[in-house]
Symmetry: C3
Subunit: 350 residues, 3 copies
């Protein structure tokens, strides 16, 4: 974690550090990043897409990050680059580093004597660290977190307050886990037996790769037999449910409130929209993009964009259309019949 | 918090306190409120809508609260008023006050020396209160809550056990936050960069107005740049996700499991049904009512009621209709063609 | 909780304990259960449905559990029984018992002097046990759990870390509650009053029967007046919201992310799919099966299977069909008109 640079910074210093073509006054001084609408003269702003160019006229930003196609849309001091949004992300991360991890174990933490906490790691107050847990160098376990026996937390990974990780689950390096996340609870494995449900023991683990972010109150269940696997670079928003034995491929991003049912296999570089549900035992190919609110009921073998939400409208119109939706099969058969009767008429006319 | 009144209470005392026209025996004695179906002779019940009048015949309630239109639907002792449900809410709040806040800091709490806790506020056991936090008069922070550095809790606000508030977020006065809520976690801000995701630092806050209630396990993300804002009088149910830089207008109520994506602006006096999803960067006008299960994919500029859920039915019927839904565009084109062929026939006949 | 048996176990010992017809080498030795795809020679696997028979050819399992119809599909040592999945569940539970509950109160727990904790129960570190709570024999309250005053936990029930149970709620025997669950928060009871919302006090409880499992981050609200009731043998997955005054009938199972709004009455032996939403005040009969993603907007009086999700497809096709869905009522009226015009033509031709 590099410390915040001394502020303000001349724009040329940013260009020197992060690259790009600098146009205009290279000495303009910057203290922070900000969106076009709210930027002030000491702020560096960005134009992520040319479609937002109408915002350029009104901005008070002192300088801009723009794409090549927007090179000449402004006369403000600017850095021209291939991916202005990524450039902005890098500058913002430099200007706004996370607070450094303070090494040490808070005296109000409860740490099992057989846990191994690296010298540069932090354990917050009221955290509970079980037998055989290992917390690697530079990792941070926030206040009130509970790591059951055998959990491993990788180098530099940060757990915000009140995360629970069940026994034997593994978190990779440089991860972020937000408050209220529960990693490794039992999957929903039940065998029907004479009108009742028998619980299937959930003896697998959750194994999480490097550079994974997990949102607040997201839950990832342990495998029934074998593991639930979250590959490197996966990003999960808040309130997501990931069932037992799911595998989420590297660099896939999933938005809030989505649910992935047990044993679904999600490819790499996918995006899944908010509130989407993927049913169990399906396979989703790499580079599949599922729109918000979609229920995925069968495997998706081809990369591409998929959707399936009911288009919203005024309630009274919705009611009329929805009534007809319940008769759609009948309507389709009526149309097929009309077509045959019309052909008949056309023939008799001929 | 007024103490519970001495019980039982004569009905006339209730009418004197809360108003309305008292009809029938004004001395009937009341100990509690109850619904019509389960009320007993010492209970005060209410008829919220005339459509429930069929329940009047069977009720054992000792007295009723009714609207003007239901004035003569019963001979039971009754208070006639404009809004019987609100009247009932007020009487119930009087008869069932929350337990008084016990001032003081539990010895098992961990409070930073630079936190300011008002003399009349309560901090529960195993709570963690960070540097620079302020907890105002009469506020209550339940067991296991974690307030990171710089958080402010307004006068009389109650946090139930195990709420997390990230650094620098602000809660107004007279609020209620239920267990498991997470306020101020990072928004889901990611810039795609060569097949991977760069994290955008989330440097804004969550700023919550007065008289706001937040349900169990609801999450409200901090702003990326600038704040996420929840205005006065907003009511959020459980398991709701509110993304970064959202603004929710005053007195809007949102039901459980709803999701509001980043930068959506929700108006005042709106209602949003359970499980509804509002996509990001949309604007919803004041007094918009979104039905449960609706996915809102574009801005709503007009007050009114909107809906968009698939109408459920028996699964075998659903399957037949859903198959046709995937062919609806083709069906519509077939119908347009039939129409033209029919016109042709009609012309040749003429 | 029986201890793990000495391993490996001859197959005949399993058949002797759990029944069924043993075919093939009865002395083959077993150490664990595993799915057909990943089983190794010391593993007992199972064929839950004959439709998975293609997996039999490639399995390396040492022995199998099969149904009567699959008796002769393999020559591997096998136990033939009526319900192979339930048989497997029983064997797995025997081979993989939960860790025994260690009796005692962790020194880092905060237990009110007026709480009653049975001698064989466990209270974990950093748990907070309120006044008047009772924890029965063999129950386990995990690290960081918070039980407010008056809560009762039945015999042998296990609360994983960081469960919150609000005051006076009751949990039956042999239950399991996963981390982050919140039982007994206030229901979402609001009376509109002149543009603002009045809170209705929530004075009921949550009463949970025996053998109930509750998933991670699931929330069950207390009743407004009267109780929210979860009957025996109910199984709730993660991230479910159960509103105030709901009743869920015995042996009903509900998958992740589902929501049950206030005062809904769900029958016995129902299944509700992931992400389904049941609106308030509805009644669902016994043995009703709701598909994933379905919004149930009216009562279901008949047992059977119901569904109502929009069928997903490629986004560009979805867009075309969804546009037509907004015109479906018009289309239906066009078809009705075409039908009349065609009849007219047919008559004039005759």
């Amino acid at each position: 974690m590099s410390p915040t640079p001394p502020l303000p910074i001349p724009l040329k210093e940013i260009a020197a550090r992060f690259g790009g073509e600098l146009l205009g006054d290279s000495g303009v001084r910057i203290t922070q990043v900000a969106p076009l609408e709210t930027a002030e003269p000491l702020h560096l702003s960005f134009l992520a897409h040319a479609k937002f160019r109408r915002l350029l006229a009104g901005t008070r930003a002192g300088a801009l990050i723009v794409g090549r196609e927007a090179r000449d849309l402004t006369t403000l001091p600017r850095i021209v680059c291939d991916n202005p949004y990524a450039y902005f992300a890098r500058v913002s991360a430099w200007l706004n580093p996370l607070p450094a991890v303070r090494p040490g174990i808070d005296p109000a933490a409860v740490v099992h004597p057989a846990a191994r906490v690296a010298a540069t790691a932090y354990i917050g107050p009221l955290a509970s660290i079980g037998c055989g847990v290992s917390v690697a160098e530079g990792a941070s376990v926030g206040a009130g977190c509970i790591l059951e026996e055998g959990v491993r937390v990788g180098t530099g990974t940060r757990l915000y307050p009140r995360v629970v990780v069940y026994r034997d689950c593994i978190l990779g390096a440089r991860g972020i886990v937000h408050s209220g996340a529960v990693i490794g609870a039992d999957g929903f494995g039940l065998a029907p037996d004479d009108g009742q449900w028998l619980k299937i023991p959930q003896v697998g683990r959750v194994v999480i790769g490097d550079d994974v972010e997990i949102g607040a109150n997201t839950t990832i269940d342990r495998g029934t037999m074998g593991d639930t696997i979250i590959e490197d670079g996966v990003k999960l928003d808040n309130q997501i449910q990931v069932g037992h034995n799911v595998r989420i491929g590297a660099h896939t991003a999933i938005a809030g409130c989505a649910g992935i049912a047990g044993s679904a296999l999600i490819g790499r570089h996918c995006t899944i929209g908010g509130g989407a549900m993927i049913l169990g035992h399906l396979e989703i190919a790499d580079r599949v993009h599922i729109a918000a609110g979609t229920l995925v009921t069968k495997s998706v073998r081809q990369a591409g964009a998929y959707a399936g939400a009911y288009p919203f409208e005024e309630q009274r119109k919705w009611r009329r259309n929805a009534v007809q939706l319940r008769r759609l099969d009948t309507l389709a058969r009526t149309v097929a019949l009309l077509e045959r009767r019309l052909e008949q008429l056309e023939r008799t006319r001929g």
